[in-house]
């Protein structure tokens, strides 16, 4: 198990984080660039000195700034770090790179090397020099090198940035299966949510050096603890609502005094009016452009513009009605407000929303 309780100074803020990763568990540290994610990994790896820290790995004390003070150097930590740059030694062949962390490179190590090279799909590249490898091949070799070194924990610092999406998916699946099989705790740093979700069975959102929320990847996305977390995990609009009741919303006419807002995630919106599924939003299309297989549509709701992704295009200027499914609500202080289920008998639109919906209809 990897346990890290860290405080480290950066130029603009202090990173404070407390993490526990069980053997075989995969934690993703997700947050914007400059949030302190890499700093945190570097402290765990022993590359950056913390202001205060207590880090243990498999029962071994790696760092302790309190008595008894401990600072195990990086070469004795048995922690593997994979960065965006695979960091292959350019003067060594692929095989020599793979065996770098295996002192002696005996017959057992070589047998393991060939087996792992086969799994990683690099068996035919062992004699090649790193400069000849493609980006994906170089990452496979770097990953193999870490696994062959039998590290007790794996840190992945945005390792697949710059690679194409199918290659990312392949490599992520590979890492997940290998990490699970080896039973080592692993931490992935990512600033793309999909990448973090594909890897992790637990997600921690880091911003400004603080962990804002930690939980199952779907839980963090569906129930963000604060409006800031919601912004970070992709909620692209916040509309005023009248109350915390699940069905009660009238974005354009909501009284500001209440201060409640609902977070609208572009991917959690369906076209049309479905009051039983969530919040109905009615407004005017201000832009529409293709986004993958969907259409990204900006809708003006009074003073607020929300972005949604729908399978059908919409004409700019047209009135549209969509339903945000189970949107999280936030109080005036930005923290999540508990959503009260809508009473069955009274479910429906408020007067203002009804009036508005009468005007807009469903993609009229």
């Amino acid at each position: 198990m990897l346990e890290a309780d860290v405080e480290v100074n950066r130029r603009d803020f202090t990173v404070r984080a407390r993490l526990t990763v069980e053997p075989g568990e995969r934690l993703a540290l997700f947050g914007p660039s400059g949030a302190g994610k890499t700093t945190l990994l570097e402290v765990i790896a022993g590359l950056v000195a913390p202001r205060r820290a207590r880090i243990t790995l498999a029962g071994r004390m790696l760092t302790s700034t309190e008595n008894p003070v401990a600072a195990v150097p990086p070469w004795q930590r048995r922690i593997g770090l994979l960065r965006q740059d695979p960091g292959l030694f350019p003067h060594l062949s692929v095989q020599a790179n793979l065996l770098y962390g295996r002192a002696g490179a005996d017959a057992g190590a070589r047998a393991e090397l060939f087996e792992l090279a086969h799994v990683l799909g690099i068996a035919g590249l062992l004699a090649a020099m790193p400069a000849r490898l493609s980006g994906g091949q170089a990452h496979r070799v770097a990953l193999g090198r870490l696994l062959l070194s039998h590290c007790d924990a794996l840190l992945l610092d945005e390792p697949y940035t710059g690679l194409d999406s199918s290659l990312r998916r392949t490599l992520t699946d590979l890492v997940v299966s290998l990490v699970t099989r080896r039973g080592v705790p692993s931490i992935l740093v990512a600033h793309e949510l999909a990448e973090a979700q594909a890897f992790a069975d637990r997600l921690a959102v880091l911003d400004g050096g603080q962990i804002l929320q930690e939980g199952a990847p779907d839980e963090v996305v569906l129930s963000p603890a604060t409006r800031r977390v919601a912004e970070l995990v992709g909620y692209a609009g916040f509309v005023p609502v009248r109350s915390a009741r699940a069905d009660s919303a009238a974005p354009t006419a909501a009284p500001a005094a209440i201060g409640l807002t609902a977070g609208i995630h572009p991917d959690r919106v369906i076209g049309g009016r479905h009051p039983e599924l969530g919040l109905i939003l009615a407004g005017v299309v201000t832009s529409c452009r293709p986004a993958g297989a969907l259409w990204e549509i900006a809708i003006k709701l009074g003073e607020v513009i929300v972005t949604v992704r729908l399978p059908e295009a919409a004409r700019v200027g047209m009135e549209i009605e969509v339903t945000a499914t189970d949107p999280p609500r936030f109080g005036p202080d930005g923290t999540a407000a508990p959503v009260r289920p809508a009473p069955a008998a009274t479910g429906g639109l408020t007067a203002a929303r009804a009036a508005q919906s009468r005007q807009t209809g469903n993609q009229k």
């Binding site: 790896a45 922690i79 030694f89 350019p90 020099m129």
Partner: protein, 252 residues
């Protein structure tokens, strides 16, 4: 293109002039004289010792400068540049005030039955002063070219700093270091300004050329100039080709 060709030919001009003005007979006459090879042997020996000193003492300094681990790095750099910017003749004069027989260092050396003037030691000292900046600055550039993240990666794979230096830093910096050593060797072999002040005796190759020129004229000095080139140039040329080969090998 024409401009670069002209400057290239102009730079190569002295070598061409040397080769066109030498006769086989002149070479055999000059080099068959008794003790003709003594200056060559002396220069080669002192040059080898100089390289050893630079490798031993200059390499850690270059590494410290490249990695920024030294306090007040600008002061250290100024110390290296000082010997490069001072005219060698001036360096020789100042060395007399530093290691001459009437200085504290001179007294210390005489207590050990050594002298830093007109001895083999003096020749090595003069050569070190004339060649050290070329080696230190060249090696510093070579170390700076090594990505520190590769060193971190090696450490995370279990190598303590010395082993990282041996397995990663030195192999990656080697082509640049080889060039730095080759240039330092050429500078040491051709050192004259400081040498003529503190190490007139025993006579190395550059001084042999100078004294032959003074005593018997230009034609007699030319064979020694050729010898100097033959001794000084192979190492830089070999280093150049080795560096190019090492870089090409890394490219796969």
């Amino acid at each position: 293109m024409a401009g670069t060709g002209i400057i290239w030919l102009a730079l190569l001009g002295p070598v061409i002039a040397l080769l066109t003005h030498l006769s086989w007979r002149g070479i055999t006459t000059a080099l068959s004289a008794p003790g003709a090879f003594d200056p060559l042997i002396l220069s080669a020996e002192s040059g080898a010792v100089t390289l050893g000193v630079l490798l031993l003492l200059g390499t850690p300094l270059a590494w410290g400068l490249a990695r920024g681990t030294l306090p007040f790095p600008r002061v250290w750099e100024a110390g290296v540049l000082a010997t490069l910017l001072l005219p060698p003749l001036v360096v020789g004069l100042l060395l007399i005030f530093m290691v001459g027989p009437f200085t504290p260092i001179g007294h210390l050396l005489s207590g050990l039955h050594l002298s830093a003037t007109d001895t083999f030691l003096a020749l090595v000292i003069a050569q070190v002063y004339e060649s050290a900046p070329y080696y230190v600055l060249g090696a510093q550039a070579a170390f700076s070219g090594v990505d520190y993240r590769l060193e971190q990666q090696a450490a995370l794979l279990g190598d303590p700093p010395r082993r990282v230096f041996r397995r990663v830093t030195v192999p990656l910096a080697a082509p640049g270091m080889a060039m730095a050593m080759a240039i330092a060797w050429a500078r040491a072999m051709g050192a004259f300004g400081a040498v003529v002040i503190i190490a007139y005796h025993p006579t190395g190759l550059p001084l042999q050329i100078w004294t032959t020129l003074q005593e018997t004229g230009l034609p007699s000095a030319l064979p020694y100039a050729l010898v100097l080139l033959v001794v000084a140039l192979p190492l830089p040329i070999a280093a150049y080709f080795w560096s190019a080969r090492a870089r090409s090998r890394r490219r796969g």
